[in-house]
């Protein structure tokens, strides 16, 4: 009996104790051990941490598979799901995290080793350690780092411990910097230490302050603070007081998973020093605060640490080390779920205590019906105007959010419904729940039917326009029309200065959606609208005014005419992103539909370092008659540029489906390897994208002189051209500049600043004159402000020591004309670089003369003919008008022999009725004219007929010339093509802000107000590829382009050669 009782008690004890699964760390051996998910980058050989609650992957050494430079980063992290494994894709997970790595201001770790430090078998935390020396992941900062001694002269090493406790829903990350030298490591300034996080699209960033979800524009406001703080507190921005968001944590909202980054207070000393306390305290700084000075695209900087203070100087003494720590938490999809994890963190070693919090819970229902509403976003705001949390309603309309004690009101946000805001605040105390219900107005329903002239369903885009009330000339719509901070979506506007008496200056788009196969229904906010139907540049534009009322369905029917037929020509877009790019959340279905509804014939997938295939999606949506696809890749380097290759093979097995490593490899080799990926290397097209983008532009990075087409000497803040440690030529050395590619993306998206070289606008520019440059006088044409209409120029030093003038803000069009004049037969293309619906598909597009397969169903489109047309230059680039041209009967891309130089240029310009054409320019370039000569400007009378101009002109031209036609329109293309209204926060802007007094030495900043406008409306522009003219026949020798098979022999240039014995020593064997 006694024994029975003992056994019974023992059994009871066992059943009452829930055992926490252990944490484990190991090197990944099979794909089933990976995390899985849309953004998952892990592969065999990487290192994994798991505890049954969350799991994470740290990449092994090598080149980053994310957007960074080096391996050794945290690349995947997710909740542990149900363990399903897809036979072809691996584990079915939901990782939506791109990459995270420690940063010491703008230096990172270049790992030489990743290892399991503790595998968790002892029941304690599992730990993976990454170690190595420092590395510049953005080399243009190198000169800043060196000149300011931001990287100490002493030898310091770094290691990062990724620590996962059993049962924890967060990863603790401890970063240590050790001075292994005999001299002190002195820093020239107090620089922030922290992390760079690349979230990727699909994770909506939320900051628990006045920003909420509106981080992009709130950061603009924050960067204006230095002027205010300087006036108020006498403080100046500097490296020791960087402008930025001051927050308790950074959190995200996503589909099924969310993330948060928080700081450990111990050693978190960047903010709060006597020098900068007054700068940050007014914004709620605490010992746990994080500073976010940079939030650009997917690139987020979170900082809180700093070099230790030694007698007033930032210094790590010889032999000493410094550490800081942070936490990366994982939630179930909304901000509230991951905030709760952060609130619960207790870490005595690092001074982190749980945060007292209460909850706000309630239901969201529909007014009138009382129906509970699911998937509504509820955002809580405190009495001081700070957005504290966000949660999504469940199936029964309920939500719960967790906030510090205080008073809160709620905003309920749902597409197609007006935002509801509670009028009163509820009080929340620690540990308690306050109730707050919200009611949303019901939506209206709009159904649209679109047919062509023959009554057939037509894939079309539906744009719903509304007019906002005049709110003042200095008010932007996003300041009063909608609230980005609570998560409302951005509304495109016409970008015309508002006038009280003119509604046509106050237009915006409430919604844009697609009638995939001619029919669509969509809930909408009640209101008065003008509904437009369109199908790109060849079709008409139809509209109808409607009044949408709640709970009512309004039907609209349209007929669109194919106004501009282009027999024998197919339109294509060769720079396209989808959800397979880390900076795009465009699902494949919507992605391909966006092309069908814009009337583009050929779409080429070019995701960042990932090979996608759109055709299965096109087929599944039954769009094969309307749209054809090709497979490509955008090889995305960090600083050298972006390069597309198509058509290429897709390899389903590897993580990136066939992309390859690019880091520290010269451009010529990258071009050759892109060809090596092609289905037929002889037919491959390698295209250089946005060559004049700042950090991402190939010509900008290599300092290519517009009129020489060769690199000139780099100035400050240029790409790192130093030799490699083993003495080899670095990949960014000017000698590595290569023009061994087929196509140049001259017209990228709707960014005028990349297309046209900057000229001082007619009518001048408001604002003070720059101090660095005066007006051009006495024949001076560079390093001074020229007359209106003239190009700004700078003087640069050539590699041979000579000097020359070059555009201060060059555009790709001028580069291309010069390249043609130097004899480089590069085909110009125009592509959308579309990542989202705001960047309309096929804006601009590339028309290719392909022959009969372009007519009729796109199933029959010959991809080979398209590629041949591009290689041969039978191409017209346009965002609207269509140009046909010939010289002495010879067509675009071909060469004509005119023995006496006498030529007849025939030009025919067509456009759909809604596309404006105002002028046509016939130009001649050549070896004697790197800046093309205008042969004639032809004014085109206003009109809406299809053929706007059909004329033949006679000219005499020198030998070895080329003829190009440009077409322009004055009226913008609203609403089919919306303005370029949201420009990315440029890294150069952050550097300028950081450089402070050094900004005057940073090229673009010296020009003050005389620089390209970052935003612009879209006006019609088109141009042809050249027709070559020579006096005598000549067949140019065509050297075969270099092709390198992937995986072939390559020069081995490691950052640091390691002793074999050391490598052997690092190998972890079983204990003896």
């Amino acid at each position: 009996m006694r024994q029975l009782l003992v056994v019974a008690f023992a059994l009871a004890a066992l059943s009452c104790n829930k055992s926490t699964p252990p944490a484990r760390a190991f090197q990944v051996q099979t794909r089933s051990e990976l995390v899985g998910g849309q953004r998952a980058l892990g592969d065999i050989g990487d290192f994994k941490l798991t505890n049954g609650v969350i799991h994470a992957v740290i990449q092994n050494v090598g080149t980053s598979r994310g957007f960074g430079a080096f391996g050794g980063s945290l690349i995947d992290i997710d909740l542990v799901r149900d363990g399903k494994v897809d036979p072809t894709r691996g584990p079915v997970g939901n990782d939506y995290f791109t990459e995270m790595f420690p940063a010491f201001f703008l230096q990172a770790i270049e790992p030489s080793k990743v290892e399991v430090l503790a595998d968790g078998s002892d029941g304690n935390a599992a730990v993976v350690r990454v170690s190595g020396d420092g590395g510049d992941f953005i080399s243009i900062i190198k000169e800043l780092n060196e000149s300011l001694n931001l990287v100490p002269d002493a030898h310091v090493t770094y290691w990062v411990d990724y620590i996962l406790q059993p049962g924890a829903q967060y990863l603790k990350i401890v970063v240590t910097v050790k001075n292994v030298d005999r001299v002190d490591a002195n820093y020239g300034a107090v620089i922030p230490f922290g992390f760079i996080t690349l979230l990727g699209e699909g994770q909506h960033l939320f900051l628990p302050n006045e920003a909420g979800f509106d981080v992009r524009f709130h950061l603009d406001e924050v960067y204006k603070r230095p002027d205010e703080l300087q006036q108020k507190y006498g403080l100046a921005p500097s490296l020791e007081a960087l402008p930025g968001e001051v927050v308790s944590m950074m959190a995200t909202e996503g589909r099924g998973v969310s993330y948060a980054v928080a700081a450990a207070p111990k050693n978190a000393g960047y903010m709060g020093s006597p020098k900068n306390r007054g700068y940050y305290d007014p914004y709620g700084r605490t010992s746990e605060s994080i500073l976010i000075p940079i939030a650009s695209s997917s690139f987020l900087g979170t900082f809180w640490g700093r070099p230790p203070d030694d007698q007033g100087s930032p210094r790590i003494k010889a032999g000493k080390e410094y550490s800081y720590a942070g936490y990366l938490a994982v939630g179930t999809g909304d901000v509230a779920s991951v905030q709760k994890v952060v609130y619960g963190i207790q870490d005595d070693e690092w001074g982190r205590k749980p945060t007292a919090y209460g909850s706000v819970a309630g239901r969201v229902r529909e007014q009138g019906t009382g129906r509970p509403l699911r998937d509504v976003s509820v955002v809580l705001q405190d009495e001081k105007g700070r957005y504290a949390s966000q949660a999504r309603t469940l199936e029964n309309g309920s939500y719960v959010a967790h906030v510090p004690p205080g008073k809160y009101r709620a905003f309920a946000v749902a597409d197609a419904r007006n935002v509801a805001q509670t009028s009163e605040y509820v009080e929340v105390t620690a540990g308690n729940t306050a109730n707050l219900d919200v009611a949303l107005e019901p939506p209206a329903l709009l159904t649209v039917t679109v047919r062509d002239e023959r009554g057939r369903p037509l894939p079309s885009k539906i744009s719903v326009e509304a007019i906002y009330d005049y709110a003042g000339a200095d008010k932007l719509p996003r300041q009063f029309l909608y609230n980005l901070a609570v998560g409302e979506h951005f509304r495109n506007t016409d970008l015309i200065d508002d006038a009280a008496g003119d509604e046509n200056t106050r237009r915006y788009l409430e919604a844009v959606f697609y009638a995939t196969l001619g029919d669509v229904g969509r809930p909408m906010r009640p209101g008065h609208y003008r509904v437009f139907a369109s199908r790109g540049v060849e079709y008409s534009l139809a509209s109808q005014d409607v009044e949408l009322t709640a709970n009512h369905t309004t039907e609209v029917k349209f007929v669109l005419e194919h106004e501009m037929d282009t027999p024998g020509w197919a339109s294509g877009d060769f720079h396209v992103h989808s959800i397979n790019s880390v900076d795009s959340d465009f699902a494949l279905t919507d992605r391909v539909t966006s092309y069908a509804v814009e009337g583009v014939d050929l779409v080429t997938s070019t995701d960042h370092n990932y090979v996608s295939d759109f055709q299965p999606t096109i087929d599944a949506l039954k769009l094969s008659d309307w749209l054809h696809s090709a497979i490509g890749l955008e090889l995305t380097t960090l600083e050298m540029g972006h390069f597309n290759g198509f058509p290429i093979q897709v390899s389903p097995g590897p993580v990136s489906h066939g992309s390859f490593a690019w880091f520290r490899r010269p451009p010529g080799e990258l071009f050759a390897q892109l060809r090596g990926l092609a289905t037929d290397p002889e037919q491959a097209i390698v295209q250089v994208n946005h060559p004049r983008d700042s950090v991402l532009g190939y010509f900008s990075e290599f300092n290519m002189g517009t009129y020489t087409t060769e690199p000139y000497k780099a100035g400050s803040f240029s790409i790192d051209q130093a030799h490699l440690p083993d003495g080899g030529i670095g990949p960014y050395d000017p000698s590595q500049f290569s023009l061994d590619f087929e196509a140049l993306e001259v017209f990228n998206a709707k960014r005028d600043m990349l297309l046209f070289s900057y000229r001082v606008p007619k009518g001048g520019v408001p604002g003070p004159e720059p101090t660095a440059y005066g007006r051009c006088t006495g024949g001076k044409t560079a390093d001074c402000v020229p007359a209106e209409g003239e190009m700004t120029k700078i003087t640069v030093t050539q590699l041979d020591g000579g000097s020359m003038e070059t555009p201060a803000f060059p555009g790709a069009l001028d580069d291309w004309y010069s390249l043609l004049g130097h004899g480089h037969h590069l085909t110009a293309t125009g592509n959308s670089d579309s990542h989202s619906p705001n960047a309309e598909a096929g804006l601009p597009r590339t028309y290719m003369k392909v022959g009969p397969s372009a007519d009729g169903s796109m199933r029959g489109l010959s991809q080979e003919a398209c590629m041949h047309a591009i290689r041969q230059g039978h191409v017209v680039v346009t965002n609207g008008p269509f140009i046909e041209a010939s010289v002495n009967g010879v067509e675009i891309g071909d060469a004509v022999v005119a023995a006496d130089g006498e030529i007849d240029v025939h030009v025919k310009v067509q456009a759909a009725k809604w596309v404006d054409v105002s002028s046509v320019r016939i130009m001649r370039g050549g070896r004697d004219a790197f800046v093309p000569v205008i042969l004639e400007d032809i004014a085109v009378p206003k009109g809406t007929e299809l053929v706007r101009l059909d004329t033949t002109r006679h000219f005499h031209v020198p030998d070895r010339s080329f003829i190009v036609i440009e077409v322009r329109g004055d009226a913008d293309m609203w609403p089919v093509f919306t303005p370029y209204e949201i420009y990315s926060f440029q890294i150069s802007d952050a550097v300028t802000a950081v450089a402070g007094s050094l900004a005057s030495s940073f090229g673009p900043a010296k020009w003050g107000k005389y620089k390209p406008a970052p935003i612009n409306t879209v006006r019609p522009f088109a141009f042809t590829n050249p027709i070559w003219v020579s006096y005598a026949s000549s067949q140019p020798l065509k050297a075969p382009r270099k092709t390198l098979p992937v995986g072939s022999s390559e020069p081995f240039r490691p950052r640091a050669m390691m002793d074999l014995r050391k490598l052997f020593g690092a190998f972890h064997s079983d204990p003896n």
Partner: protein
């Protein structure tokens, strides 16, 4: 066809072999690392060392496992200097059973230091020829570096995925002053491979 597909997908379940060769005036040192993916292959290798068939790899049986892996690691590796065959001897070995001492499908790893000496000095212009076949006939990643006699600095030469039946040749440079050559082969220009 199957092997090619396997190679294209990175042969996720098989042998992964990496060889680093450091050439100096009188020696060729190397580090050979073999990883065996978890699966049937690893289980078979483990079972081969389980002499008493108790399902465990005991302390006495471990050397057998190590010996087997060592044999698999080195059997396909042939190195010549301008035609002169080198005899690579293992000088140190480390084995990892991934903390699993049973006859299971858990993967295995081995690292071995090898060394070979030459009768006459190796000089710039000579060729290092490598043949490497891993146990499952997948490619072997080979890296070659040269150590200068003058200052001990290390020059990285080439890295290549050596395929089965391929003879990969690397032109040696960075070793220091030219010395009388060994072997009968004439020096060739660098990096040319032959099948």
């Amino acid at each position: 066809m199957v092997l090619a597909a396997g190679a294209a997908l990175g042969h996720p379940q098989g042998f992964h072999e990496r060889v680093s060769l450091a050439v100096s005036l009188k020696n060729v040192d190397g580090l050979v690392v073999v990883d065996v993916d978890g699966g049937e292959r690893a289980k078979l290798i483990r079972a081969g060392a389980d002499l008493n068939h108790d399902g465990l790899i005991s302390g006495e049986e471990r050397p057998l496992l190590q010996k087997k892996l060592l044999q698999l690691a080195l059997q396909g590796l042939k190195v010549r200097v301008s035609g002169y065959p080198l005899v690579l001897s293992a000088t140190d070995v480390k084995l990892s059973t991934r903390d699993d001492h049973t006859v299971s499908e858990t993967g295995l790893s081995l690292a071995v230091l090898v060394a070979a000496s030459v009768p006459s000095p190796i000089s710039d212009g000579m060729k290092l020829e490598v043949e490497a076949v891993s146990a499952d006939r997948s490619h072997v990643l080979v890296e070659v570096s040269a150590t200068s006699a003058a200052d001990g600095s290390v020059v990285a030469l080439e890295r290549h995925e050596v395929q089965p039946d391929e003879k990969w040749a690397v032109a040696l440079r960075g070793l220091g002053a030219r010395e009388p050559r060994i072997g009968a082969s004439a020096p060739a220009d660098g990096g040319r491979r032959s099948r």
